[in-house]
């Protein structure tokens, strides 16, 4: 494991904005799609 601490993990070696910006938007897309399918059940 390469992370010294939780803060280190979230910092992603200075690329936090880009890494989390990608993962969070992807997760939001998935959540949105599933909610949309549930709504139209």
């Amino acid at each position: 494991m390469q992370w010294e601490s939780i803060a280190d993990f979230f910092a992603m070696g200075g690329y936090g904005l880009y890494v989390w910006g990608s993962y969070i938007v992807t997760a939001l897309c998935v959540v949105f799609e599933i909610l949309d399918l549930k709504k139209n059940r």
Partner: protein, 243 residues
């Protein structure tokens, strides 16, 4: 057992629900496993630092965006040629998920390109053809939505899907055919992959997760489409209490 009976919406409808549940479970398991490898096992890249960890969603999303288009066109073609209702419904059900995967591939690509290339977007052949893929998905859905008779919408949208399929090999081979800023394939069927084993494993497990997820949501969506289109069918009225 006659498996062909599942080409009828009536028999496929309950089967799709069972299959979707199984595929959702697999999707969740592979996502947890893949993210664990991606964030805790795979080492830091010696050139790109931690920014490369975006590939664990970028590459699977990009693969799925192309693959879903091929599968969507396949079902659209079957529906057009054989005049089978369920095939066209399946093509219809795949389009939104394909569009979502294309959007994710473009978005994560931009977030990787900014620190790596210094630009969110460049008009390079790979990026441009992937953007065209997004427009094809949107065009397909818009065309469907604009035609009221679902059988006519099936045929018209199938032709659009089949014309657009030429774009998929263009995306795939763009990095070989043109001098693109986008890097060439690190994983291909003919060469051994040019990356660390744990990075490759994480990417492949995430690709499996995206596969399972795409199948699961498409099955749920095709059930919704069956409900809409077969709303007057007696079998649906009978099963609606139980489902």
């Amino acid at each position: 057992m006659n498996i062909w009976k599942y080409s009828s919406p009536q028999y496929f409808y309950p089967l799709a629900k069972k299959m979707a549940t199984i595929f959702f479970v697999f999707a969740a398991v592979f996502t947890v496993w893949g993210l664990y490898i991606g964030f805790f096992v795979a080492p830091t890249d010696f050139q790109q630092g931690e920014s490369y960890r975006i590939i664990f969603i970028h590459v699977p999303a990009a693969w799925m965006s192309m693959l879903i288009y091929l599968i969507m066109s396949f079902w659209a073609a079957i529906g057009l040629i054989m005049n089978t209702r369920l095939s066209s419904m399946m093509a219809h059900a795949l389009a939104p998920t394909g569009a979502l995967m294309t959007f994710v591939a473009l978005w994560t690509g931009a977030f990787w390109g900014r620190p790596t290339w210094g630009a969110w977007w460049v008009w390079d052949a790979r990026l441009t053809s992937e953007l065209i893929l997004l427009f094809l998905y949107i065009g397909y859905m818009a065309l469907r939505a604009s035609i009221e008779d679902p059988r006519r919408a099936d045929r018209a949208s199938a032709i659009l899907a089949l014309v657009g399929v030429v774009n998929v090999p263009i995306i795939y081979f763009s990095v070989q055919w043109w001098n693109t800023l986008h890097q060439g394939a690190s994983v291909s069927l003919t060469k051994s992959p040019s990356m660390a084993t744990s990075m490759l494993t994480g990417m492949l497990v995430m690709a499996l997760a995206f596969w399972m997820y795409s199948i699961a949501v498409s099955l749920i969506r095709v059930r919704r489409i069956i409900r809409d289109r077969e709303a007057n069918a007696a079998w649906l009225a009978e099963s609606s209490g139980a489902q």
